[in-house]
């Protein structure tokens, strides 16, 4: 086909039919967009992190690695780094287990499944900033309905109650509970995505294989661990990788729920970069903090590539 287009076309009249011209021409705008507004800013971030850029001044000076030194010495940064890992790993471990249970349930047919699916997907399909507003009230220091339920059950707010005699737990005011709350909201948010990805994987397992295994006497657990999980491994990896990227780099949940508080106990890399770089105007250190997000992302991208290659071969 390419021979046909190339050999018989005049130089101009068939320029649209020449693959050599047309293929790069059609893809150029997309590449340009990505290079100019993703690639260049990335290198700009690296450049800022090696400079003394601030929002106030236009001039830049190269300062070497001093921003990184300053950032690494900062206890708040170290806290943010550790928190980012804790929030990501714990929430994704929870997501993986819960998504598996939920996906297995959704594999069955039952009445009202579309409604259930709609409700379960809400944390992912509704804008996260708006969903988090719902949680702000759930976890409010005075009006929390969760506290109300606990009080109603007698677990809270009475002398001798298991969770204490105070009328509230102060979810976002106590460091350990604030961390728990952030993990809870991240888990809540990523569960739908992992569930539908796993569900797509489960439905792609041929029923005959499972039936044959059942006929051969394999029980539920055996089928789960020896057939479903091994066959699902590539797609489970995809679900986890996306979960990691989105949670690791998220700022919305922490910014809206706790602003990193109380006393930086829920600060993460993304929020700390924002407070430093935009609110305090120290672009250089903000960029240095944000760049610590890069190794994790690059690692995930590399794993994805390996996965893509492997599925291509088989």
């Amino acid at each position: 086909m390419s021979a046909f287009n190339g050999e018989f076309g005049g130089p101009l009249s068939h320029i649209w039919d020449r693959e050599r011209v047309l293929a790069p021409l059609l893809i150029a705008p997309a590449i340009l967009y990505i290079v100019v507004l993703v690639g260049a800013p990335f290198f700009l971030a690296v450049y800022y992190s090696l400079s003394d850029a601030t929002t106030g001044s236009q001039s830049l000076h190269f300062v070497g690695l001093s921003n990184f030194q300053a950032v690494l010495k900062d206890p708040v940064f170290r806290k943010s780094l550790i928190n980012t890992f804790i929030f990501t790993l714990v929430s994704q471990a929870l997501v993986l287990v819960l998504a598996k249970v939920l996906a297995l349930a959704l594999l069955k047919d039952f009445r009202g499944k579309w409604l259930v699916k709609f409700l379960i997907l809400l944390p992912w399909t509704a804008p996260i900033a708006l969903g988090t507003i719902g949680w702000m009230w759930m976890l409010d220091s005075i009006f929390s309905p969760i506290d109300w339920i606990l009080r109603y059950m007698g677990l809270l707010g009475a002398p001798g109650a298991i969770l204490g005699a105070n009328s509230n737990l102060y979810w976002l005011g106590v460091p350990s509970l604030a961390m728990l709350s952030v993990i809870l909201v991240h888990t809540w948010r990523m569960l739908p995505l992992a569930t539908v990805i796993l569900l797509a994987g489960l439905t792609s397992i041929p029923q005959e294989i499972l039936d044959a295994a059942e006929v051969d006497g394999a029980g539920f657990w055996r089928r789960l661990f020896q057939i479903m999980i091994p066959m699902l491994l590539p797609i489970m990896t995809v679900a986890v990788l996306f979960g990691i990227v989105f949670t690791f780099t998220d700022i919305t949940v922490v910014y809206l729920l706790t602003q990193g508080g109380p006393v930086h106990s829920t600060q993460v890399l993304a929020s700390w970069a924002f407070f430093k770089g935009i609110e305090a105007g120290d672009l250089a250190q903000g960029a240095a903090v944000a760049l610590f997000l890069f190794p994790a992302m690059a690692g995930v991208a590399a794993l994805m590539l390996r996965l893509a290659r492997r599925t291509e071969v088989t």
Partner: protein, 279 residues
């Protein structure tokens, strides 16, 4: 015995499903209740928070629509969303077509590379981009969002459309070429009409993804009349008067259409996410 076991299985299934539905939708159920609950009822700690202890009211909705900039946020969101959809289509459709039709090994890798840029987090780029936006004189303007949002919609939509275009048989197109169409003519008249559902998916996702976006809007825009719902509702409605009723209604109203649209097209979205890990 078998019947009993069946009932047991069935009820544990419903148990799981109901538990997860409640967990996922709980904050949204709460928004519905709070949107219609009288302020006095909301703030009386003894009252059961899940019931209407006093008759429901429309006062919060009235205040939200007539006493705040909420309608402005909705309009801003729609304006940005539509502009982003247009840019995404104009850039991603030709790119995806090119990758789908002329992809050798080289094109395949390029496609994957474009998809991977979707993973570059906005939280890494917002600092340099805020400087770029300032340099272009676009700060405090919706144009800043219209320019930047396609950086995450184009990679994903190109990837999604590439899959769609690949599934259209080459024969149909070759027939069109024989009939005298140019290559671009064949794409516009033959391939695009066959990919309507793919294009619709791109429209829905570009729109909902720009509606979801938070960090760029937070970094680029601070004048309240220019905010989108994702930042206007949590920053302005809380800052202004901190009343739970209108705030909850303001969070609920944009969430519902976004969730319905997204859910309708979710399966295609997931197919793009899983990159052929399912065969």
């Amino acid at each position: 015995m078998a019947g009993l076991r069946q009932i047991g299985k069935r009820s544990s299934l419903y148990g799981v499903v109901i538990f997860f539905s409640l967990f996922s939708a709980f904050p949204f159920f709460w928004m519905v209740i709070a949107s219609f609950k009288r302020a006095h009822d909301l703030y009386t700690l003894k009252n059961n928070p899940f019931l209407f202890n006093e008759p429901p009211t429309l006062e919060h909705l009235h205040h939200l629509f007539f006493g705040t900039l909420f309608v402005k946020y909705l309009i801003n969101t729609v304006v940005v969303g539509i502009a982003v959809v247009v840019i995404t289509l104009v850039v991603a459709v030709p790119a995806a077509y090119s990758l789908a039709r002329w992809a050798g090994r080289w094109g395949e890798n390029l496609g994957i590379a474009i998809f991977l840029t979707y993973l570059v987090p906005p939280t890494l780029l917002f600092i340099p981009l805020s400087r770029v936006i300032g340099f272009l004189g676009l700060q405090e303007s919706l144009w800043s969002l219209i320019l930047i949002y396609p950086t995450f919609t184009i990679p994903f939509c190109t990837w999604l459309l590439m899959g769609f275009f690949k599934s259209i048989p080459l024969d149909i197109e070759e027939q069109a070429l024989v009939d005298g169409y140019s290559r671009v003519g064949a794409m516009v008249r033959i391939v695009l009409p066959l990919s309507i559902s793919g294009l619709l998916t791109v429209v829905v996702f570009s729109f909902t993804l720009s509606m979801h976006e938070f960090i760029y809007a937070l970094a680029f825009i601070s004048s309240s009349a220019l905010k989108t719902v994702s930042i206007g509702v949590p920053t302005e409605l809380i800052g202004e008067f901190f009343e739970w009723g209108p705030l909850m209604a303001g969070a609920l109203i944009p969430s519902i259409p976004a969730a319905i649209l997204y859910t309708l097209f979710l399966d295609r979205f997931i197919a793009g996410f899983t990159m052929g890990a399912i065969k």
